[in-house]
């Protein structure tokens, strides 16, 4: 469904992605893990057309992407951003936020689509004419997911979709995303700094550091901690909570 070969990207003189290769089968779920500045979000932003200076090959549905993205691309691929406080227009009602993509793509029947999209993400109709500030963080993230789903895409790019949420709300949103993958046959690329979230959601995982994929693992390899690269091992240990001795073994990867 998605194939990326030798992807390189630059921000001015900074070489932020170095030879990134990713392959995601249809209905697959691929996880990118890493710390701040590792380039994990940049991979998603490059696919979706938010990064200008890149080289390499990105194939979506066996079609190679050029420098710009057209409307058919966005019918197929939608992105959900990390911060539900920043990604919804503060002065648009939920109704308007959800109607806009429908109108842009000229799908018609927007009324029924909005009602359905809200229902899919478990929000009742009373939310429809509210503003984002009247919603909690978890409810806003549901709206952001509804906005992506309303175009009936086949691929969702998820950039830390739950890291701004409380753990109990995170569980609800993750379950919702798992259900959509099952029921709608979606394909995911998910970015997170949280190894456990990615291990739970994804089949294949890549660990990134300084723009490079340092290691690939399957969910079961990750579950057993079968990781080779010292950087991935360090991340794995760090996910286990505070242990003074473990901290002393940390090496800086700057």
């Amino acid at each position: 469904m998605i194939e990326i070969n030798k992807l390189n990207a630059w921000f001015d003189d900074n070489h932020v992605l170095k030879d990134v290769d990713i392959k995601v089968p249809k209905n697959g779920s691929f996880g990118l893990v890493g710390e701040s500045g590792s380039g994990k979000s940049t991979v998603l932003r490059t696919i979706t057309g938010l990064v200008d200076d890149w080289e390499g090959e990105i194939l979506v549905n066996n079609k190679e992407l050029g420098p710009t993205r057209d409307k058919t691309f966005y019918r197929l691929v939608q992105m959900v951003f990390q911060d539900p406080f920043g990604s919804l227009h503060p002065r648009h009602t939920i109704d308007r936020i959800l109607t806009e993509p429908v109108n842009i793509h000229g799908l018609g029947n927007s009324d029924a689509r909005v009602v359905q999209a809200l229902e899919q993400v478990g929000l009742d109709n009373s939310f429809r004419f509210r503003y984002p500030h009247q919603l909690s963080g978890g409810q806003r993230q549901r709206v952001a997911i509804a906005r992506a789903l309303i175009l009936e895409p086949k691929i969702l790019l998820l950039d830390e979709p739950t890291s701004a949420l409380d753990v109990s709300i995170q569980a609800e949103v993750l379950n919702l995303l798992s259900r959509f993958r099952r029921e709608l046959g979606l394909t995911y690329i998910m970015v997170s700094h949280d190894l456990a979230v990615v291990a739970h959601m994804c089949d294949d995982i890549a660990i990134m550091n300084h723009g490079r994929i340092v290691e690939r693992a399957t969910a079961s390899q990750l579950a057993d901690g079968r990781l080779e690269h010292p950087y991935s091992q360090q991340l794995y240990k760090a996910a286990g909570g505070y242990d003074r001795a473990v901290v002393d073994s940390f090496v800086d990867w700057d």
């Binding site: 109990s168 291990a199 739970h200 579950a223 003074r244 901290v247």
Partner: protein
């Protein structure tokens, strides 16, 4: 750890007067704190931060604090004048906030800010203060303390900024540190490194620590005792090492809904909230 009580809080209530009516943020929280590490855990809106802020008299102006007792040694924290507060805040109790980006002064060098914190409470000359500040930066494991001393906050990373905050808060040698989500804005490995620094300093100097966080597992691996808060109430107090024996359904629910690295992709258990939890 001795059993001497540093801080005693009984039936603390914090209420905010808002245009939409009173918001009861903290409802009857009581605990005693010795020279130990106490974790306060809860989700957004549970009142964990407001509990910490009330102890330091930092509640916003529209908030009202009442407590049957709120004493630090023999100081009655409930009735201090602003002048008396200045002798307590920073000097005897200090607070580390979440985001160094917002809690450091952006137009003052890091060194000057640490010196300011130190000289506020200790009468020393500029040379001595500078010497102390650099020692303190060294103590929080900053590799090039001279350079950081002369830097502005925007010139250092998040992890470095938080070490600077710790340096600034610890330099007056307080007896009690309240750390409110001190590492939540940081990457996991940096987070643990910063916690290790805090761990060592608190241990070496025999300080008491209140560690406020949303992360139950992290807190229990770091603290001696944990209070779990839900809607302003303490629903459970547990020894950190006995977290798996937690009894309250909220605490158990919080632990269960975490995704685990066991390769199991089935749905996560959802936390079902019960109205009775909010009644204390």
């Amino acid at each position: 750890m001795s059993n001497e009580t540093l801080l005693s809080v009984k039936n603390l209530e914090v209420t905010f007067n808002t245009p939409k009516g009173d918001v009861h943020a903290v409802r009857g929280v009581s605990f005693n704190l010795g020279r130990e590490r106490l974790g306060i855990v809860g989700e957004s809106g549970s009142g964990k931060s407001q509990t910490g802020r009330a102890i330091l008299g930092l509640t916003a102006a529209n908030g009202k604090i009442t407590a049957d007792q709120m004493t630090f040694h023999d100081v009655d924290l409930a009735n201090l004048t602003p002048k008396q507060w200045r002798k307590v805040r920073g000097a005897r109790i200090s607070m580390i906030m979440q985001d160094p980006k917002y809690s450091l002064n952006p137009v003052m060098t890091i060194g000057d800010q640490i010196i300011e914190a130190y000289r506020e409470h200790h009468k020393v000359n500029a040379k001595e203060a500078r010497h102390r500040a650099i020692d303190m930066l060294d103590a929080v494991k900053i590799r090039d303390p001279e350079r950081v001393f002369n830097s502005y906050p925007h010139e250092v990373s998040g992890g470095m900024g938080q070490r600077v905050m710790i340096a600034m808060m610890l330099i007056p040698d307080p007896e009690l540190i309240i750390a409110d989500e001190p590492t939540s804005a940081l990457d996991v490995t940096v987070q643990l490194q910063v916690m290790a620094i805090l761990d060592d300093l608190v241990r070496d100097r025999g300080m008491a620590l209140i560690f406020i966080s949303h992360d139950l597992q992290l807190v229990s691996s770091f603290c001696d005792r944990v209070l779990v808060m839900y809607q302003g109430h303490v629903v459970e107090e547990i020894k950190a090492s006995a977290l798996h024996e937690a009894k309250h359904p909220y605490t158990k629910g919080l632990l269960n809904c975490l995704p685990k690295m066991d390769g199991d992709h089935s749905d996560l258990p959802i936390l079902e909230r019960e109205a009775s939890w909010a009644e204390g």
